[in-house]
């Protein structure tokens, strides 16, 4: 195994593979910063070029591009509140408020550094896990995956405001998210739900236009209403120091970054869970790490920990997602589905062979992710100072550009005009949610997990009746879920025992 690890590294370091990786990264940068084309779509466009490459070269090229797009996605999330990759939306929740406070440099420094650490920790975890990963994944059947999704959705208690009012609001939004996830053709009997006669809705709502709408549009409206630059009238922060501060923050909260990286890898490894879930679970975990209620109140208003957690998970999950793709042929995301196409073109078969006979190739993929991430972050750090200045450009000049990013970005998700309408409608919804203080993260969690929960619950019950409730891992996950649900209340209770801390009217967690 160790030999394969080294072989894998040398496969990537061959001049041809390495050059191709750099070319891929260059393309990834352009795509990531201008979400006009979108990660998976670019990967698809590049597929014809891999015909003449060796497997290590092809994956260096494709994954180099993919890794960078994931990293740079954080940049638009922080600066404009536009989820760059669609899946980097959790970084928006705390990252963008920081930019509005004039701390864009710090937020970006933290996002990138945590991405880097996440990628490294993820790769190490993955390298260590490869020998046991197949049995591990195979112990997670539909009942276990269902409970894992329930565990994910139980994070809503942490993502909602404190007190009964906050919790009720959080859960209502979570349920609304679940409801929206039921749109489209259901998988059991094939019947159409809420399709309003539109073919566009057969496959359900796409995550990208929904997220972009719900997070970016309210920010644009806010910016227009304020009539100032994103960072307001504040005197420019010392950007150089801000970025440095963000990097330091990453190490100040190293264990949080570490735990969130592990969450990212683990969720990424689970087939079908998908990367969108990982980020939000990491974000929820960051919130849970708050010391007390007053500390928790800071989240959603620009807390650095809210940037670090999802930032770390965002890149560590990339490594994790390789596993179901490589070892089982079950793609974890749209990009991974296209990568599977490259597998076929290369004449490689996803499956156990990739973890034994072709282990060096698999490791070369892990190495590519690591190396590409390191290079990307170092390059980004050089330009961050310039990028952060964007937040001081007057709103009138920046709004048209951000609007363009928003609509082009969501249009390219599926290439349909209806995507623009969905973006607009969810923008409207998002605007009112912000206006009236209903939290957005629980909605997203419900929306992302709804389909998984339905799918795996149905299969569990029709396959096992109710006996699945006694599966050992299921029992363990049920207990963990109970703990996650109770945690904020325990926290509150403990604070109460220590004597009252003045907490004002409980507000939603989402600024």
């Amino acid at each position: 195994m160790f030999e394969a690890l080294i072989d894998g590294l040398f496969l990537v370091l061959q001049w041809k593979a390495f050059t191709l990786m750099l070319v891929g990264m260059g393309l990834g940068f352009m795509v990531g910063l201008l979400p006009g084309i979108g990660g998976p779509a670019t990967l698809a466009l590049m597929l014809p070029f891999v015909f003449k490459m060796s497997p290590a070269e092809a994956f260096a090229f494709l994954l180099g591009m993919h890794a960078v797009a994931a990293t740079t996605g954080d940049i638009t999330s922080v600066l404009f509140g536009v989820p760059g990759e669609g899946l980097s939306a959790a970084v928006v929740v705390d990252g963008h408020p920081m930019a509005k406070r004039g701390e864009a440099g710090r937020a970006l420094g933290a996002a990138l550094m945590s991405s880097l650490l996440g990628a490294l920790i993820g790769a190490v975890a993955l390298a260590l896990a490869i020998p046991v990963v197949r049995p591990l994944v195979l112990t997670f059947g539909s009942p276990e995956l269902f409970m894992l999704s329930v565990l994910g959705i139980s994070c809503i208690t942490s993502l909602s405001g404190l007190g009964a009012r906050g919790q009720i609001r959080g859960f209502s939004m979570g349920l609304l998210g679940l409801l929206f996830s039921t749109i489209g053709q259901e998988r059991q009997a094939g019947s159409l739900r809420f399709d309003m006669g539109l073919m566009y809705l057969w496959d359900g709502l796409d995550l990208v236009p929904v997220l972009v709408g719900i997070f970016a549009i309210p920010e644009i409206v806010d910016l227009a209403v304020r009539g100032t630059a994103i960072a307001g009238e504040r005197p420019p922060e010392e950007l150089q120091r801000g970025v440095l501060e963000g990097i330091k923050d990453t190490f100040r909260h190293f264990w949080l970054v570490f735990r969130c990286s592990i969450i990212g890898v683990f969720v990424g490894i689970m087939p079908g869970a998908g990367g969108g879930v990982a980020q939000w679970m990491a974000y929820a975990h960051s919130v849970q790490s708050a010391k007390d209620a007053a500390d928790r109140e800071r989240f959603g208003k620009g807390d650095i920990r809210g940037v670090l957690g999802p930032g770390a998970a965002n890149n560590s999950k990339e490594g994790g997602e390789l596993i179901p793709t490589v070892a089982f042929g079950v793609p974890g995301s749209g990009a991974m589905a296209i990568l599977l196409g490259a597998f076929m073109i290369m004449g490689l078969l996803p499956g156990p062979d990739m973890l034994t006979k072709h282990l060096a190739v698999t490791y070369s993929m892990v190495w590519t992710l690591v190396i590409a991430n390191v290079i990307a972050v170092i390059l980004c750090l050089f330009v961050l100072n310039q990028l952060a200045k964007v937040t001081y450009i007057s709103g009138g000049l920046i709004i048209p550009i951000v609007l363009l990013l928003v609509f082009v970005g969501s249009y390219t998700a599926n290439g349909q005009i209806a995507d623009l309408i969905v973006t607009f409608l969810f923008g409207l919804l998002g605007y009112f949610m912000v206006l009236l203080g209903w939290p957005r993260p629980p909605f997203v969690l419900g929306f992302v997990l709804g389909k998984l929960i339905e799918t795996y619950l149905f299969i569990s019950v029709s396959r096992y009746g109710f006996s699945w409730l006694t599966h050992p891992i299921v029992v363990l996950l049920i207990m963990l879920t109970a703990l996650v649900i109770a945690y904020p209340f325990i926290q509150e209770y403990r604070r109460g025992a220590r004597g009252p801390v003045h907490v004002r009217e409980p507000r939603s967690n989402d600024a």
Binding site: S142, G190, M199, L349, G351, S462
Partner: protein, 337 residues
């Protein structure tokens, strides 16, 4: 006499452009342009096969245009099919890498199927692909008879009505007495195979070439096939021959026709005939190209040229069903992918 001779030569010269120009015009037409091939999916063997065809199509068309595959997933290929039939410009620059199963949607008069498979300008197909039912390798059931006499109902994972994974075991269960219990709801075919590996599911049906890969890996054992055989599996029993009543056989036959058509390419109905001819010729040449064959072999997709004529004939047959069969079919088959 002499004058007539001169006149006829002159007339000949005048006629010359009429014969020569179209070929040159087409060369000019495709030069510097690119052909877009729409496909209603994002991944899978259908997509990879289309990529491989696209990789070589341009070099056999005068003017050497580029050919690009564009994904347009949605509504089980209906979206892409509707788009190319109704919206795409019929200028010979837009093609559809069709999923022939949409023909079943047209047959069952799905409202959203706004096309007529008989009116497409077919270019050709890179080969049919049948369906096979497989059983987890560690189970004792080795033949179809074992499946009939099984001591319990085997759990067949499916991706829901309308899919090969669902309809194939469903018809076997209804019309051949195979002991199967359908478990729909899996997101994709690969998820079912994963469920087989973790012993949640006993049986998995999919495209023959896909099942073949899993057979090679030792994960499953192929038991029954539909009429189009994957190389090496010709001897497996065929579903239509196992059917215990003619209605079942007829319905299985309907499902079998699109599988025979396979990975077909089409141009919009109003595409000019001369450009269609160029595309057909180029497509036929691609299938003979040694580099193309090598790439297909590497990707383990068996390619076989099927002519446009044959495709039109098959779809005409598919869409010409007696009402009683259609009615009966409606009970079992729902349009989907």
């Amino acid at each position: 006499m002499k004058r007539t001779w001169i006149l006829s030569v002159l007339a000949g010269f005048l006629m010359l452009p009429l014969t020569a120009v179209p070929a040159r015009a087409q060369a000019n037409f495709y030069e510097g342009k690119s052909i877009t091939i729409f496909i209603g999916a994002k991944g899978g063997s259908l997509t990879v096969a289309a990529q491989i065809v696209a990789h070589h199509l341009g070099k056999y068309i005068p003017g050497k245009p580029a050919a690009v595959v564009q994904f347009m997933p949605g509504a089980a290929h209906l979206l892409a099919t509707n788009h190319v039939f109704n919206i795409a410009k019929p200028d010979g620059l837009t093609l559809l890498a069709a999923n022939p199963n949409v023909g079943i949607a047209q047959l069952s008069k799905v409202e959203q199927a706004r096309f007529d498979m008989r009116k497409f300008q077919w270019i050709g197909s890179s080969g049919g692909d049948g369906v096979m039912l497989s059983v987890r390798a560690d189970l004792p059931y080795k033949t179809f008879d074992d499946l009939r006499k099984a001591d319990r109902e085997l759990v067949a994972g499916t991706t829901g009505p309308g899919s090969n994974a669902h309809d194939f075991p469903l018809l076997l269960k209804e019309f051949t007495g195979a002991k199967l219990k359908l478990l729909p709801g899996y997101p994709a075919s690969s998820d079912i195979l994963l469920a087989v590996e973790r012993k949640e599911v006993d049986s998995w049906s999919a495209f023959a070439t896909t099942v073949q890969r899993a057979v090679d890996q030792g994960a499953v054992r192929a038991i029954v096939r539909s009429r189009v055989a994957a190389p090496g599996f010709e001897k497996l029993p065929v579903d239509e021959e196992l059917a215990t009543n003619p209605m079942g056989k007829a319905i299985m036959g309907i499902r079998g026709i699109p599988q025979g058509v396979g990975r077909a390419f089409a141009a919009p109905p109003a595409t000019p005939a001369d450009r269609v001819a160029i595309l057909r010729e180029a497509f036929a040449k691609v299938l003979q190209d040694p580099e193309f064959k090598a790439e297909a072999k590497k990707a383990k997709i068996p390619m076989r040229y099927i002519s446009a004529e044959q495709i039109s004939k098959d779809f005409a047959a598919l869409l010409n069903q007696p009402p009683d069969v259609l009615k009966e079919m409606g009970k079992y088959i729902k349009a989907g992918d």
